[in-house]
C-alpha cells in the first residue's frame, strides 16, 4: 500500500500543498481529481521522488521510499515525450532493459503491450511521426512495460479518442486486477466515476475527500428521490418533510427528511395512479466534486 502523509509543498511564498495525505491500495484503481492547479501533478511528482516535499512522508508497505523502491513504480509524467527520433518498439524495449529485462524478454513484453494498446502497426515508426493520441499510448506503454507494482499516471486519458480510452482503461483494469496499485489523475469526472474503485479529491492543495467510491457517494447523497408516475405529482408539494427539486406533470425529483417519508410517498403515489419508477438518486461524482471543492 502506498501511503502519503502530511505532505506540504511551497514554491517560494506560494503554498501548493497543505497536509496532503491518502492511500493508494493494491488491486484498486484510484482516481485523483481536482481542478487545474489544485496540486495533482505536484503530489504525483513528490511520490515519484522527482520533486522533494517540504514536509511529510511517502511510504510503500510502511517503508520510506528509496531509489530502488521507485524501480517498482511506473510513471507517466504530465508533459509527454519520449525520445522523438527513436522507434516506438526500441524505446519501450530500452526502458524495459533499464529495469533489468533481457533483450528478448524486453522485446516480448514491449511488443505484447504495444499491440494490446493498439500500436502493433507502428512498432517501427519514430515516435515523432505518431499522432498525439498514439504518442500517448506509447507513453502509457513506457509506464507499464516493466510490470510495476505501483502505477502513477498523470492524466493518462487526456487527448485520447473513445476507442483509445477503452483500450487504456482495459489495460489499467487488468493491471489492477493483477494486484497493481494504480493512481491516475483526470479531469474527466464521468470516466473516473466509471473506472475507479477509490477516489481522492483535491482542491487548493488540500484533500477534500478520499476513500471508496460507494462510501463517498453514500456520504454525500442527500436523500433525493425520483418519481415517474402517470398522474399529476403536484400533490407532493403539500406533503410534510418533502422538498421539491424538479417537477413536471407526473415527473418529480424531491428531497425527503427521512427514509420513512420516502416510503410513505411511494405508497401514496401507488394509491394515486401507476408508478413508472421510484428510485433514490445517488450523488454523481460531479455533484460530490462541486460540493467538496466549494
Amino acid at each position: 500500500m502506498l501511503q502519503l502523509r502530511n505532505l506540504d509543498k511551497s514554491y517560494g511564498t506560494h503554498r501548493v500543498l497543505t497536509d496532503v495525505g491518502f492511500d493508494v491500495l493494491p488491486g484498486r484503481l484510484t482516481g485523483f481529481v481536482g481542478g487545474n492547479g489544485a496540486g495533482k501533478t505536484t503530489t504525483m511528482r513528490i511520490v515519484l521522488g522527482v520533486l522533494a516535499a517540504d514536509a511529510g512522508t511517502v511510504t510503500l508497505d510502511g517503508a520510506a521510499l528509496g531509489t530502488d523502491d521507485r524501480r517498482r513504480f511506473g510513471y507517466m509524467p504530465e508533459e509527454r515525450g519520449l525520445y522523438p527520433k527513436m522507434k516506438v518498439l526500441e524505446q519501450i524495449v530500452y526502458l524495459a532493459r533499464l529495469h533489468g529485462y533481457s533483450k528478448s524478454a524486453a522485446t516480448d513484453a514491449a511488443t505484447a503491450l504495444l499491440e494490446r494498446l493498439g500500436l502493433g502497426e507502428r512498432l517501427g515508426d519514430n515516435v515523432e511521426t505518431l499522432s498525439l493520441g498514439n504518442q500517448q499510448r506509447a507513453q502509457i506503454a513506457a509506464a507499464l512495460v516493466h510490470d510495476p507494482d505501483v502505477l502513477i499516471l498523470d492524466e493518462p486519458f487526456s487527448g485520447l479518442d473513445p476507442m483509445a480510452v477503452d483500450s487504456v482503461a482495459g489495460v489499467l483494469q487488468e493491471r489492477a486486477a493483477a494486484g497493481t496499485a494504480v493512481l491516475f489523475s483526470s479531469h474527466q469526472l464521468d470516466l473516473v466515476e466509471r473506472l475507479c474503485d477509490d477516489l481522492v479529491i483535491i482542491a487548493e492543495g488540500t484533500i477534500r475527500a478520499a476513500g471508496d467510491r460507494e462510501t463517498l457517494r453514500a456520504q454525500h447523497s442527500t436523500k433525493r428521490y425520483e418519481l415517474v408516475s402517470t398522474g399529476d405529482a403536484g400533490w407532493l408539494r403539500a406533503e410534510p418533510g418533502v422538498e421539491i427539486v424538479d417537477f413536471e406533470g407526473g415527473y418529480a425529483v424531491f428531497d425527503v427528511d427521512t427514509e420513512q417519508t420516502a416510503q410513505r410517498i411511494l405508497r401514496d403515489a401507488v394509491a394515486r395512479g401507476d408508478v413508472g419508477s421510484f428510485a433514490p438518486q445517488h450523488a454523481s461524482l460531479a455533484q460530490i466534486f462541486r460540493e467538496v471543492v466549494r
Partner: protein, 380 residues
C-alpha cells in the same frame, strides 16, 4: 480529509516470477551508452558530415603531400665529391660548387635552399645536407632514408610544416570536441525537455545515466579520432611521406591518448552545463564558457606554434594539453617524461571534473523551468 479504513489488501509486494533484478551498474551504463551511440549512428546528418570530414582530411593530406613533392626547382648546391650521390630529378636545380665553403656561402646568402656536401664520416650516405634554418622537406623526401642535416642557423622544424601540423591537431581537436560536446549537451536537454528523464530516473541512478552518456559519446569521438589517425597514416604512406610519418607517428598516438581523457573531461562538463537548463534554446547560455575552452587551444596553437613558452604552458593546462603536448613532441621540444606528467595532470583534472559534473548533473536534472544557478546546482 477522510481515509477509508475498511479491510482491504494492504501489501503491494506481490509474488512475481517475471520481475528481473535491477541491471548492474555497468550493464545500466552500457545500455545508456549503446543508445547514445545508436541514435547518433542513425542520424543521417551525422553520418554525412563525418564522411565529409574524413574525405576532406584524406584530400588535404594527399594534396599537401603531393604539392610538397612537386615543388619544382628546389635550388641546391652540390659539391663535386657528392654529385654522384644526388638523385637526378627534375625537381632539383643543381649548382655544382667546388667545396663545402662555397656551398655554405650559397646557402647563407639564399641562392640555394640547401647544399649537399661530401662527408665520408656520415654513414651510410657519405654526404650531409647543409641548410640555413631548416632542410627543405621536398629535398629530404628524395632520399629513401633521412640523411644527416647540418643547419647553419638552426631552427628546429620547417615553418610551413610546423604550421600545417599545428592546424591539423588544432582543427581535429576543435571539430571532434565541439561536435560531441554539443551532442552530449543536446542529448541531456532532450531528455529533460521531453521529461524522459523522469522515467529514466525511476529506473536507474542519475550517475549511471551520466556515465552512459559520457562513455557513449567518448566512444564515438574516439572512433572518429582513430579513423582520422588511420587516414593520416595511410595517406602519408600512399604518397610516400614515410619520413614525415616517422616524425608524426608518436605525436599522433599521444594526441589520441590525450584526446581520450580531454574529451571525457569536457563531456562531463558539457553534460553538467546542459543539465542546468530545460530547453534546447538555452543550451548556449551555460555551455558558452566550455565552447571557449574548446576553441582556445585551436587559436593558441595557430598563433603561437613558434612560441615555446606558450606551447609549454598549453601542454600542461588540461584543456589545451591534447593539442599542446603532441605539438611539442612533434617539434622535439618535450622531454620524454613531460607527456606523462601532463597526462597525469589531465587525468586528475578529469576525475575532478567528473565528480563536480556529476554533482551538478544530479542536482539540476529534475529541476525544470528556469535555468538552475551554478551555486544551487553545486549545493544541491
Amino acid at each position: 480529509m477522510s481515509i477509508d479504513t475498511s479491510p482491504r489488501p494492504t501489501s503491494t509486494t506481490r509474488s512475481r516470477t517475471t520481475r528481473p533484478a535491477a541491471p548492474s551498474e555497468a550493464a545500466g551504463v552500457w545500455l545508456v551508452a549503446e543508445r547514445e551511440i545508436g541514435s547518433k549512428l542513425r542520424s543521417k546528418a551525422f553520418l554525412i558530415s563525418t564522411a565529409i570530414l574524413f574525405v576532406l582530411a584524406l584530400a588535404g593530406l594527399v594534396f599537401g603531400g603531393l604539392a610538397a613533392q612537386n615543388q619544382s626547382g628546389t635550388a641546391i648546391a652540390v659539391t663535386a665529391d657528392a654529385a654522384s650521390l644526388v638523385p637526378s630529378n627534375d625537381n632539383l636545380e643543381i649548382t655544382e660548387v667546388a667545396d663545402r665553403a662555397a656551398a655554405e656561402k650559397l646557402v647563407a646568402d639564399g641562392t640555394v635552399e640547401a647544399a649537399i656536401v661530401g662527408d665520408p664520416s656520415a654513414d651510410p650516405f657519405g654526404f650531409t645536407v647543409v641548410a640555413e634554418s631548416s632542410a627543405p622537406t621536398s629535398l629530404l623526401l628524395q632520399f629513401a632514408q633521412v640523411p644527416s642535416v647540418e643547419l647553419l642557423d638552426p631552427e628546429p622544424t620547417d615553418d610551413a610544416l610546423r604550421y600545417l601540423v599545428a592546424i591539423g591537431f588544432g582543427i581535429v581537436f576543435l571539430t571532434a570536441a565541439s561536435l560531441f560536446g554539443s551532442t552530449i549537451a543536446q542529448s541531456v536537454v532532450e531528455e529533460k525537455q521531453t521529461r524522459v528523464v523522469e522515467i529514466l530516473i525511476s529506473a536507474i541512478r542519475a550517475r549511471t545515466l551520466l556515465a552512459g552518456k559520457v562513455i557513449g559519446n567518448t566512444v564515438l569521438a574516439m572512433a572518429q579520432i582513430l579513423v582520422l589517425a588511420a587516414i593520416a597514416v595511410i595517406g602519408l604512406t600512399i604518397i610516400g611521406q614515410t619520413q614525415l610519418l616517422g616524425t608524426l607517428g608518436a605525436p599522433i598516438l599521444w594526441f589520441a591518448v590525450f584526446f581520450l581523457f580531454g574529451f571525457v573531461l569536457l563531456a562531463a562538463l558539457f553534460a553538467a552545463a546542459a543539465a542546468m537548463v530545460s530547453r534546447q534554446e538555452d543550451i548556449g547560455s551555460t555551455t558558452f564558457p566550455l565552447t571557449l575552452l574548446i576553441m582556445a587551444p585551436y587559436f593558441l596553437v595557430i598563433f603561437f606554434n613558434d612560441n615555446p613558452v606558450v606551447l609549454t604552458i598549453m601542454s600542461y593546462v588540461p584543456f589545451s594539453a591534447p593539442v599542446g603536448m603532441p605539438m611539442r613532441l612533434f617539434l622535439g621540444e618535450a622531454q620524454w617524461w613531460e607527456p606523462l606528467v601532463s597526462l597525469a595532470i589531465l587525468i586528475a583534472t578529469c576525475v575532478g571534473a567528473i565528480l563536480v559534473g556529476a554533482k551538478i548533473y544530479q542536482n539540476s536534472l529534475l529541476r525544470m523551468g528556469a535555468r538552475v544557478k551554478l551555486g544551487e546546482a553545486l549545493r544541491g
